[in-house]
Assembly symmetry: C2
Homo-oligomer: 161 residues x 2
DNA sequence: TATGAAATACGGTTTTT
DNA sequence: AAAAACCGTATTTCATA
């Protein structure tokens, strides 16, 4: 289920999360592999499902979306929520979660009137609580494979100094 | 502040959000522009800050992170939260939000013990409520520019049928 | 449109298990 | 011993002026 990823794979994943448009030639230089070698590695990471795709990151503000917000929805039927999400392009991310609130949506809207419209739409399904995003502290943190041999190194990092 | 984006730009943004590794030649074919033409467009979208980067999407489960969760933090000093976030690689996204909870973090951890470790770390700053992600309904929805001439078309789409 | 660089395909070699 | 991974080269495609 979890493929074995060595040091080369880890460095490839780090580089491609930082810049997905690197040429294979340049990527090879950075991870000390030949161009065909690194190409084959990337192809395998893709077919193993470790890399699931490549995407351009966009500035939502520059696209005209002045407000980003998080909506927490109360209990609601899964099929109905899923359907409304699919019909709502303003929803950037949507998760079904365990806990008192069952759904968490991240949305992008133009202005307050637009925000009100989206909230009202989901408000017809269940109760909605809204939190406007003021400032992203961190976004799209590149993630590396968990060390297989000594997982405790991670735990140790987590504890406060 | 908000650059004017025409139909060509919109199609370029759609394609690059779907597959950021498209060659300029292939991208040009898809949006009906010459290779130099589309290259110049993309370069301008980058320098205008509309496209902020390109990233590989990875399957966190395949990297060994079996649990994804959302943490809501209560009131806490901004500098302290920021510092701990920066020292915690398990935090994928972090937002400062308006509302009763001041912070929302998305994290990836190996297992329950690891989850407990991360929660405890932030629990030293303020109260933490945790929601484990059961199932993503939508992720990384490609976003297109808001139509400039008739914003109401968007509002109309939002209202329920 | 032309020139240089990069991607893909192939055969041979080395390393790993 | 077997398998996998890597490299060098040639051809096609692509990027940049």
């Amino acid at each position: 289920m979890i493929p074995h990823l060595d040091d080369h794979d880890t460095r490839i994943l780090a580089e491609l999360q930082r810049d997905a448009r690197l040429s294979m030639a340049e990527l090879g230089r950075r991870v000390q592999l030949s161009q065909p070698g690194v190409t084959e590695r990337v192809r395998k990471l893709e077919s193993a499902g470790v890399i699931t795709g490549y995407t351009a990151k966009v500035d939502l503000g520059k696209l005209g979306y002045g407000i980003r917000a998080l909506l927490r929805l109360g209990r609601a039927e899964s099929a109905r929520v899923t359907k409304v999400v699919q019909q709502t392009p303003e929803v950037v991310n949507a998760y079904n979660v365990a806990g008192q609130d069952n759904w968490l949506l991240e949305i992008a809207v133009m202005d307050v009137a637009h925000l009100d419209a989206v909230i009202s739409k989901f408000g017809q399904l269940t109760e909605v609580s809204t939190a406007v995003i003021l400032h992203p502290v961190r976004e799209h943190q590149p993630m590396l494979p968990v060390p297989r041999d000594d997982p405790r190194t991670i735990i140790r990092k987590v504890s406060l100094a």
